[in-house]
Each structure stands twice: as C-alpha cells, then as structure tokens.
Amino acid sequence: MAMVEEPLYPIAILIDELKNDDIQLRLNSIRRLPTIARALGEERTRKELIPFLSENNDDDDEVLLAMADELGGFIPYVGGVEHAHVLLPPLETLCTVEETVVREKAVESLCSIGAQMKERDVVDWFIPLVKRLGAGEWFTARVSACGLFHIAYPSAPELLRAELRSVYNQLCHDDMPMVRRSAASNLGKFAATVEPLYLKSDIMTFFRDLTQDDQDSVRLLAVEGCATLGKLLEPADCVAQVLPVIVGFSQDKSWRVRYMVANQLYELCEAVGPEPTRTELVPAYGRLLRDNEAEVRIAAAGKVTKFCSIVSPQVASQYILPCVKELSTDSSQHVRAALASVIMGMAPVLGKEATIDQLLPIFLALLKDEFPDVRLNIISKLDQVNQVIGIDLLSQSLLPAIVELAEDRHWRVRLAIIEYIPLLASQLGVDFFDDKLGALCMQWLGDQVYSIREAAANNLKRLAEEFGPEWALQHIVPQVLEMITNPHYLYRMTVLVAISLLAPVVGSEATCQTMLPVVINAAKDRVPNIKFNVAKMLQSMIPIVDSTVVEQTIRPCLVELHEDPDVDVRFFAGQALQACDQVMCA
C-alpha cells in the first residue's frame, strides 16, 4: 500500500473517489479535478490524469456533464496553451455520448479551449478532431461537430478551409434530422467566420438547402439563422438572397415556421434596411398579423411595438394600425392579451395626434374586454400612454375597468390589479385616487383570500410612500384602525400586519400616538394568535419608537403577555423582551 502522508489524505481520498461506487462521491471528485490536477502537477496531469479521464467515460450522465464542464477550464493545469491539445481527446469522446446536455457542454468546453489554442495547434489537433466528429459513425458525433466549425475555420489554411466547408455541406444534408438541425442552428456562427466570397456562394447554398428541408424542425431553425446571416451580408445581397426566403417563410405551410418568422421579423428588418422593409416585410408582417393560426397572431401581436419603432410612423399608422384594430377584436383572448401587453408602447411611436385618433378607441375597447388578462395588460402599461396624451382621456373608462377587476371572482386577478394600484395612483393623482379608489383599497383588507389581504396591506404601505405620511395619516390609518373591531380574528390580524408595514412610513410620533394604542389594546385579545402577533409587532416597533415609549408602554404590555397561559404567546413575548433589553443596553 502506498505511503501517503497525513496532510494529503483529503487529496488521496479525492483521487480514489474518482472511481468510487457512489455517484455522489465521484461527482464530488470530478468537481474538484483542478485540485487533483494541482496535486499531481502539470506533467502527470497531462500524462496520467487526462488519459485516465479519456478512458473512463463509461459513467453516469451527471458525472460526464461535470467532467465536460471542468475540462473546459483546464488549460492552466496542463501547463498552459501550448499543451492545450491534450485536453481534446477526453472532450472528443464526451462529444459522442447520447445525452444532449453532456454533448453541448463538451462542445462548449472544446470551443473555449480551441479559441485559446495557438493557430498551428488548431490545425494540428483541433481541425482533425472536427473532421473526425463530422464523419462519426453515430449521429451524436456529427451533431457535436456542427458546433465546432466557427472555432476551427479561422485558423485553417486555404485548402483545409475548402475541406471544412465541404464537411459542413455534408452535415447540412445528413440523413439524420438531428444533424441537420444542429447544422442549421450553428450556421450563423460558422458563417460569421467565413470569407465574404464563400459566404455568398457556399454558405448561402447551405442555407437555401436547409430552408427547403422536409422536416419542419430544420426549417424552423433555418429561420432563426436568417437575421444573423442577413446582418453578415451586404445589404444588396441580403435583399437578393435572404429577403425572398423570409417572405417565403412568412407564407410557409407550417404555422410553427410562420410563428418563428413572426418572432424574428423585426430583426430581419434591421438586416435588410428600410426600403425593402417597407415594400416586402411590412406586407409580410401584415399577413402574419392576420394569420389564421392564433399562435402566429399572438407572436406577431407581441412584436407590434418593436416593429412600429423601426418603421416610420407614417408606415405604422397606414399599414400596421388597421391590423391592430382587427386584432383588438380577435376571437382569441390570448391574441388580445398579447396585443394589450404591448399596444401602449405604440403611443410614443405614433405621437399624440395619431394616438388620440387611432389608438385611444382600441385602448378603450381592450379596457372593456371580457378577458381579465387583456384589461390587466392595458392597465399595467398605463404610464406609457400617460406620457403622450395624459391620463384624462382614459380615466373615465379606467375606473369601471379597475372596479370590475378589483371585484373579479378569481383572486389571482384581484391580486394582479392590486399590484398595479400604486402605479395607477401615481399616474392618476391623489384627488382621483381619493375619490374613486380609496374605498377599494380598504375593501381588499377584508378579502376572503389571505394573499389578497396581504397584498392589500402591502399596497397601503406603497401608497403611503407614494402620497406621503400626512396623506396616509388622514386617509388610510383611521380606516385601518377601525377594522380592529372586526369579529373575525383573521381580519384583525390583517390590521396588525398593515400597522406593522405602515409604522415605518408614517414615522415614530404618529405611530406612538395613533397606532400603538390600538396594538396595545389588541394584546388583550381573546385569540392567542393575535396576542403573539402583537408581541412580534411590538418587537418590530422597538427600533422606530422612542426609548421612553418602549419603557412605559411596550415593555409593560410585553411583560403581561409573558405571563400568558398560551405557550406561543409567552415565547414571542419573551423574544420581544430580550430585544427591549438589548436596545436599552445599547
């Protein structure tokens, strides 16, 4: 048995556990490969550890994933970039395993190593690896190969470059759809490294072939590449080569392909420039907004603001607005919801006049939508319109919408509208709020659902912050304190929560004068839950009130609670008393 000195036990164990039967221990050892490597030294890491790892790839996916990850940062441990190539063999085998995440991680690590390697080493080691993987027997190797070309290509001499391109061409026409998918999704990265001449010829041929693939899943990924490729090409070439493909895709038989186009279109506009956008892409976008598949319309509607911001306002109001109008009465609630979540952003793009003339009726229609999400989405973006046309034009319609949402039978809807109340308050102003919304905020405190009561209390705090302590003392605090007489203890508890949230906002003096007596009174409640919450609250008040108040009011109350028959009440009272003592000492 080997002689291992005591300080080295941890490392010795770590090394031994590389082959332990327990996967957690193996995983732990793999995660600490850098330590092992440092313990073995650079040379033995190269000559022993790395070959050892290459041979032992018959492991669980979790371990392989960790190994692929660790090896990516291993260059320092094998003696720097000149030795980086020794790391390639273990990663090469990891590139061929069945589990996708392991392969992806191995490719990522290979890319990071390849990017640091010296040009000659790339030619000697990295490119042969790419070629081997590209000609792999199993599709897994070929899938991985596609993600390595953008690292290999720049370092390759002319002849090898031609070969790499031809390998990529094969991968684009592989029998297995997974390989073609990988080729499609990596095409953009690869294209960025290819010389303009071949970009126009070879890469565009690959691209065209992929766009005509039988498998929808391949064409989908080809769409994603459109924008990247378009940006690499000269605008004229882009218009000649990419634009027809995009327009074709926008009328593809498969709704999933059209969905992708709808998601990507505004980026494509940037690639082709303003004029072709107006003549080709705006009509294409119009078609997508009127697509017969709701999913496509959802995607298109969601991009309406982004799209309008890159075309001229005139084009937007002439071509896009009519479609938007139709969408606002779409049969699918999800389309309307998607539209509602972005349509407010169109106001700044279109300017005041167009907004009032054209958008306002749509806003108002959507505010009356039967589907709560649509209304909520409009309300959530109110500030964007307010900046352009002011809130007055909307306020008359807003109120019924808010009230209806506030009383919706689904508590999640009520919760959502509460979240927006501070925003609404700031946009609508204090007067409007006092008139119309104040009562609602109080009403929520008495909601049947705890989450709503909790949110309502929090809302009061945010309102107090928005409108200031004066306003809070006048408009919120009295109403809240009144509710302490509620016969149900859960509602009384809500009051306590609200008080604890409001106390820091209204300040020490107001707290002592108005709220503290109520809390002290609540200590005499018949329900223990209220009492120990009083204890907790008093503890939270200690830092914000004056020390005399602590001594004269809070402490006696806590002492009394400390004698309570209920064990929980005594516990929290005890904790609060300790806090009192600490403050006094300090």
Binding site: V4, L8, R38, A39, N56, F139, Q215, E295
Partner: protein, 527 residues
C-alpha cells in the same frame, strides 16, 4: 365454415378498388414454428402479471421488446451477429434453405410499478400498454414504454465491468478493520475515521485542503491515480432517462415517435399530446375531443400513430370506426382533421352492435405511409391515403362470430382490442383472434391467407393450409381434417376459446417473422 370466414382464400378477403396498381398477388407463405419463450407447461397456471401486453420490433429487426402486465419490459436480440449470418447463410444455402432470424433473451427490467393516485383515489396499473423503439445512439438502445398514465424513456446499454485497484488508501483499512490489516505505520486508524462514518451514511466530509495549501510545482509524487482494469465481460444495464408524467387525465393507449427523432405523441381516450424527447415537464395538447359536457361524449380515441416519414402528419382512430388524418402544420390545436376515413355502413344493417364492432382497436401506417391498416372487431381494413370513402381492401377476420355477438357482448369479449401488423414490404397483413389463433392475409386482391395457432404446431388447427388459389389441395386438406375435427363446428365458434385471445403481435420489419403473444408466452414464426 360459415359465412366465408376463411374457407377458401378468395372468400376471406373482400377486395374493393384497385390499390395494387398492377402488382401481382404474392405467393402463399408457408409458416413454420421458430421459437417460443416462456412456454407454459400443461396445466400450469398463468400468473396475471406475466401476461404479455405489448410487442415491438425495432427498426432494424435486430431487437424485440415485450411488455407485460407486471410492468416489466423484456428485450430479445438476434442470436446471429451480422458476420456470422453471412457465413452461415452460405453454408446452409444448399441444404436447409434460407435462414430465418432467431432471437435470444437479452435482458429485462421493471419499467413501471403499481401506483396510487391519491387525488382521484385511483389505482394505476403497472401494465405496459405500448412500447416504441427510438433512434439508436452510440449502440445504446432507447425505448419508450407506457402504462395508463406515465411514459418512460429507457436506455439499455452494455456496460463493461471494471475492477478498480491500486488506490492511494487501502480500502480494507478504510472499511474499519484497520488495526489488523494496516501495513503502514502512518495509516493509523485515526486518519480513517472520516471514512468510517462515510460507510455509516451520515457524512462529515474529510477536511478539505485549506486554500493556503501549497502545492509543490512538480506535484506530489506519492499520489497516484487508481488503476482500472476493464474486463471483457459486459452487462446490459437499463436506465430510466426521462419520465413523462402528469399529462393524461385518461388512459394512454398509444405512443408514437415522429420521423424528426425529436418528438413523439401520446394518446389517451380524449386527447393527443405532443412531447419533445428531451423535455419531460411539458407537452402540447394537439388533439382534444373532449366535449364541454361529458354527457355529449360519443366517441373516444383508440389509437394514434405518426406518419413514418412526414413529420407533420399523424393519424388517429376512434371508437366509431373512423380514422382521422391530421396535418400539424395547419394549426396548433388540430381539432379539424385534414382527412377522414370512414366507411358508410350499408343501409338496413344497423344493429345494437354496429357501433361497438366498428370501433377501431389499432392502426398502422403501411408502405411508407401511403396506406393505413386498421383493425376493428370483425375485420382488417386497408385504406389508401388518397381515398377516404372506403377501404381498398377488407379482410374478414371474425365473420363467423357474427351470430354470437350477443354472447360476446355478455362476456365483454366484444371489447377486446386486437392489434394488427404488416410485413416490411407491406404485401401482407396479420392480426390476432381467439383460441390463440392469428391470421395472415395477402394485401393484394386474390392473395391467400393463413390461419395459425400460437403453438409449436401452428398449422394444427388450420383449416386450409396455405396453397394456391383454387387449388384442389385446399379442399382436400379440409376434407381430411374434417374427418377428425370438424372445421364447421370450429368456425361456428363451438370450439373457440374466448379466454385465450391473441391480442398482440408484431411483424419483423425486414423478414417474414411474426412474433405473437399467447397469454404469457411469446411465439415466433417464420416463412
């Protein structure tokens, strides 16, 4: 022989239209017994859990999987590897004739366990309803298996056995008997206490090296890597890679892989869901036939399958006897079919049982997706994708049962779900029946058929041995058999045993080999 149930080959299949396009009827096949797995001894009682509930060949035919009611999946593989086969085939070519594939047991694993749905107070059986092979990767076999609720992706791969030695620290010492074995004075028991607790379970880790630990530049020579010796022995290990759960409110009847090798569908009584193989926590509902009010429910989905090459096309069958073809490109929720295959029933024939026996129990795409084979209670039907109004061929499987439908309804046999299968070239179709019998038909008009019993002597019960159309031999054979065992009474159902039904069978994708399940036994036949 009543009602043309299979007496002469011509009467067995009623051919409509011209699906053949001028192809010639195939000569009859002579089916022979090849192998049996799990044969039952006479009088041996069958355990419920051993009854086979799914059979599937993989794409190459090199592997066969069966699933049973006990939630187990058993794999079989061809015994003769490729090289051997080539040589052997040459050797045997003169004497024995063409060789047929033979299989051997390779491994088995417990795919599903019985579960209990506490929310609905329902037991979930472990019974395997369907098995589908996925694209092979790196020599590892992947397959999907499903019970009523949960689909699982299994990877079965060979693992080389290894032996680890030459550790830095002696494992025997570390295991706690240090005082006796310790050969090194340095290795006092104290040093190994952390390891002791390792074995106990709750683990205080050995102290890690402090960050200030100074590694000498050349490394520490006394440390070394363990030595791993790979043995030549391998073991097949099955690992569950993904679990696709909680997406079906009703019982899953089918799973089917897409040609994109990325997605698959699962179908239950009312819905079809689309999954990505890599993503087990979400699926997309693509077909939903659940009516708003469950009282309006008139039909359920009985089976669903993806087109073998078109990634966007799938077909599903219903309990009303229709098959719907769906184009997933058209919309996200495929409520509208693009094609509906349905045979209008002849007027005046309607009875109480019409709808029950019309229910399709299985569908399979045939010949590259140009045709669809369907099985209902009485017949097999072959549909041309381009002809929706009627099947191009109808093969009467159970015609002789027509007078007995009442009894079959009483004992629930009428709801039995028979599977169907096709030969790799699509020239022949096969399906199961009662008395552990299965029947093979030539797909083309005028082709003959065979009825075989799942036993070591498959032709024993067979009324007409496979022969040329109109051959006198058939009549001869019938006459001869008639002496001992009247085929008339048999086909009238007198001798038919409704408890031994052959529901599941599969045809080898390349050769004429049929695997079929009779209760707990797997029988293989070749021709």
């Amino acid at each position: 022989m009543s009602a043309g149930g299979g007496g002469s080959p011509a009467s067995g299949s009623q051919q409509v239209g011209a699906g053949g396009g001028g192809r010639q009827p195939q000569p009859a096949l002579e089916w022979k017994f090849s192998q049996v797995f799990g044969e039952r001894a006479a009088g041996e009682e069958v355990q419920e859990v051993d009854i086979i509930s799914a059979i599937e060949f993989d794409k190459s035919g090199e592997h066969l999987a069966t699933g049973d009611r006990g939630g187990r999946v058993v794999l079989f593989e061809r015994t003769d590897s490729r090289e051997q086969r080539a040589r052997r085939e040459l050797e045997r070519a003169d004497s024995v004739g063409p060789r047929h594939p033979e299989y051997r047991y390779s491994t088995e694993f417990q795919s599903h366990e019985p579960e209990f749905d506490y929310l609905k107070s329902l037991e979930i059986e472990e019974k395997i309803n369907k098995i589908r092979w996925c694209q092979t990767a790196n020599g590892a076999r992947l397959l999907l298996s499903t019970n009523d609720k949960t689909i699982k992706l299994w990877k079965v791969a060979e693992k080389k056995l290894k032996n680890v030695s030459n550790l830095n620290l002696d494992p025997s010492v570390r295991l706690g008997n240090g005082s006796s074995v310790s050969s090194s004075p340095v290795l006092g028991p104290r040093g190994f206490t952390p390891r002791l607790s390792m074995n106990g379970g709750a683990v205080p880790r050995p102290p890690l090296l402090g960050s200030d630990f100074d590694f000498p530049p050349g490394g520490i020579p006394s440390l070394h890597l363990p030595l791993v010796v790979w043995s030549n022995e391998t073991a097949l290990v099955a690992r569950c890679r993904r679990v696709y759960a909680n997406a079906h409110a009703y019982h899953i009847n089918s799973v089917s892989n897409n040609s994109d090798c990325e997605t698959f569908i699962s179908a239950d009584d009312l819905r079809v869901n689309l999954w990505n193989l890599e993503v087990s926590d979400q699926s997309f509902n693509i077909v939903d036939i659940k009516p708003v009010n469950m009282e309006d429910l008139t039909e359920v989905i009985t089976s669903a399958e993806f087109h073998p090459t078109h990634c966007n096309v799938l077909a599903y069958s219903s309990s009303k006897g229709s098959i719907r073809l769906i184009d997933m490109r058209q919309s996200a929720l495929c409520d509208r079919h693009s094609k509906l295959f349905e045979e209008s029933e002849p007027p005046g024939t309607r009875s109480f049982f019409t709808e029950i026996i019309a229910s399709i129990s299985d569908i399979k795409f045939a010949r590259g997706g140009r045709y669809i084979l369907s099985r209902d209670y009485m017949t097999l039907k072959l549909w041309d994708i381009n002809m929706e109004a009627a099947p191009v061929a109808t093969y009467r499987v159970h015609e002789y049962l027509r007078p007995k439908l009442c009894d079959l309804y009483e004992n629930d046999s009428i709801f039995d779900k028979f599977e169907c299968c096709l030969s790799g070239d699509g020239e022949r179709v096969a399906t199961g029946s009662y008395s552990n019998v299965f029947r093979v038909f030539g797909a083309m008009p005028g082709s003959e058929e065979a009825t075989l019993e799942a036993s070591k002597t498959p032709n024993r019960r067979l009324v007409p041995p496979p022969s040329r159309p109109g051959s006198r031999l058939a009549n001869l054979a019938r006459g001869r058999l008639g002496g001992s065992e009247s085929p008339g009474t048999e086909m009238n159902g007198g001798a038919y045993d409704f408890t031994s039904k052959l529901l599941h069978l599969a045809w080898h994708p390349m050769s004429n080999v049929i695997a079929c399940a009779a209760s707990n036994s797997l029988y293989m036949y070749y021709a």
